[in-house]
């Protein structure tokens, strides 16, 4: 079990290797990446910033809750902060478990809780030179016309 906020490129294969064990029947990897188009706007990069100590604490809580709920210690999560280019990974979640359904359920639980709780913000850079903090609580089309 490991959870970290880091400011360097993520290496999905090494996280997968970290959770794999002969007791596992299944391992899953989730990789979140910077997408080139978001809500119709062309994205060229993203700055991720975090409230560091709280983000570390929340991420550790999410992983501990996943362990309790799904019954595996084999969960590793890294969230990257700083400036990311198109296609670079912002988060990697690796889980392994004796049973495949639990591995997949734990993967989904972790990414949904991360999105909901981690005090991390992203500012998208658009092709037209503007930058904007992403606010998932705003309705997409309202955001466009504001």
């Amino acid at each position: 079990m490991r959870a970290a906020i880091v400011d360097r490129p993520l290496d999905p294969a090494s996280l997968l290797a970290e959770v794999a064990t002969p007791a596992s029947g299944a391992s899953t990897l989730f990789v979140g990446t910077v997408r080139e188009v978001n809500e119709g706007r062309v994205v060229t990069g993203i700055d991720y910033s975090a409230y560091g100590p709280m983000a570390e604490r929340e991420l550790a809580s999410v992983v501990a809750e996943a362990r309790e709920r799904f019954g595996t210690e084999r969960i590793v999560v890294e969230h990257r902060i700083g400036t990311l280019r198109l296609g670079e990974a912002s988060i990697v979640i690796a889980v392994s478990h004796a049973r495949r359904a639990a591995a997949m359920d734990a993967q989904r639980f972790v990414i949904e809780e991360v999105k909901r709780r981690l005090p991390i913000w992203k500012r998208e850079h658009y092709a037209d030179g503007t930058r904007e903090w992403v606010d998932p609580t705003r309705a997409p089309h309202v955001a466009e016309v504001r």
């Binding site: 910033s49 409230y51 969230h79 005090p119 913000w121 903090w133 606010d135 998932p136």
Partner: protein, 78 residues
């Protein structure tokens, strides 16, 4: 009491990385939010949550001297 409030993202862009607020003794998170909203008038900032000592705090939590207080705009991690 004097609270030093940490700000992030759009709130930090608008008001700086932290603000000092004078709050009555026994003030709650709701009082803090009201004071911060007053500071943000006219800036069209998103409605935030408040964290106290690295935990999301309910509106009725009483603030204490020495608490680490932060304004948490809508998060977008992952």
């Amino acid at each position: 009491m004097v609270a030093n409030v940490l700000l992030f993202a759009s709130w930090a862009d608008a008001l700086g990385p932290s603000v000092r607020l004078e709050l009555p003794e026994g003030a709650t998170v709701r009082h803090l939010l009201d004071a911060m909203t007053a500071r943000a008038v006219g800036k069209s900032l998103p409605k935030p949550l408040v964290a106290v000592n690295h935990k999301y705090a309910r509106a009725d939590l009483h603030l204490r001297h020495g608490d680490e207080i932060a304004i948490i705009p809508p998060v977008a991690g992952g």
